[in-house]
């Protein structure tokens, strides 16, 4: 899916757990997520800690969108 968004001319960052899967799927900007059932959260943490982690990941994703890349890059 990520390739079609890129093909439409919109910069896209792929937040996913297993980078090899997204590498084969062809994403250019990749931000590793925490775990498959909860990519941007960790139920073992308190709500505040969890939101802080989520913010970190989203901010890294926004950084990735603002970084020039020439090919598949993991941030």
């Amino acid at each position: 899916m990520v390739k079609e968004v890129e093909r439409a001319g919109i910069p896209v960052v792929h937040i996913c757990t297993v980078t090899p899967i997204s590498l084969t799927v062809g994403a250019n900007r990749i931000v590793p997520a925490i775990a498959i059932p909860h990519p941007l959260g960790n139920p073992a943490m308190t709500a505040q800690e969890e939101k802080a982690i989520r913010r970190q990941i989203v901010e890294k994703a926004l950084d990735a969108l603002q970084t020039e890349v020439s090919g598949q890059t993991i941030f």
């Binding site: 757990t17 297993v18 980078t19 090899p20 899967i21 925490i34 775990a35 498959i36 059932p37």
Partner: protein, 121 residues
């Protein structure tokens, strides 16, 4: 414990119940693979091929898979996830032929599934 066995084969859980940690699920072939995937999502590594044996998925209802004893601390292991996802896709391509199998046929399928797992233990 030397590893985690996920199986829907009663004679596997009987035989290895104490030697290995056995997660017995009374579910179909495909649901069993989904269960294995849940464990892979928790970081467990797959040790035996989920499509072991040339008897086709859903021709035999039984499947046993050996996983690592403990999950990786670093999260999901890429190869295991690729392996289980591909196995699930492959299993989907087959018709379910496990209804109205006689007890003797089911017994033979249980035996073969046990032997396939044993060849790895």
């Amino acid at each position: 414990m030397k590893g985690l066995i996920i199986t829907n084969n009663p004679i596997v859980s009987e035989k290895f119940g104490n030697e290995y940690r056995v997660e017995y699920v009374d579910q179909s072939f495909e649901d069993l693979l989904a269960r294995v995937r849940d464990f892979v999502h928790k970081g467990y590594v797959i040790l035996t091929h989920p499509l072991s044996g040339s008897i086709k998925p859903k021709e035999t209802p039984y499947k046993s898979v050996l996983l690592s004893e403990v999950p990786l601390l670093t999260g999901v292991e890429g190869e295991s996830l690729k392996l289980i996802e591909n196995s699930i896709i492959k299993a989907k391509a087959f018709e379910d032929k496990t209804n109205n199998l006689s007890e003797s046929v089911l017994n033979d399928f249980r035996l073969i599934d046990l032997s396939l797992l044993e060849s790895a233990l």
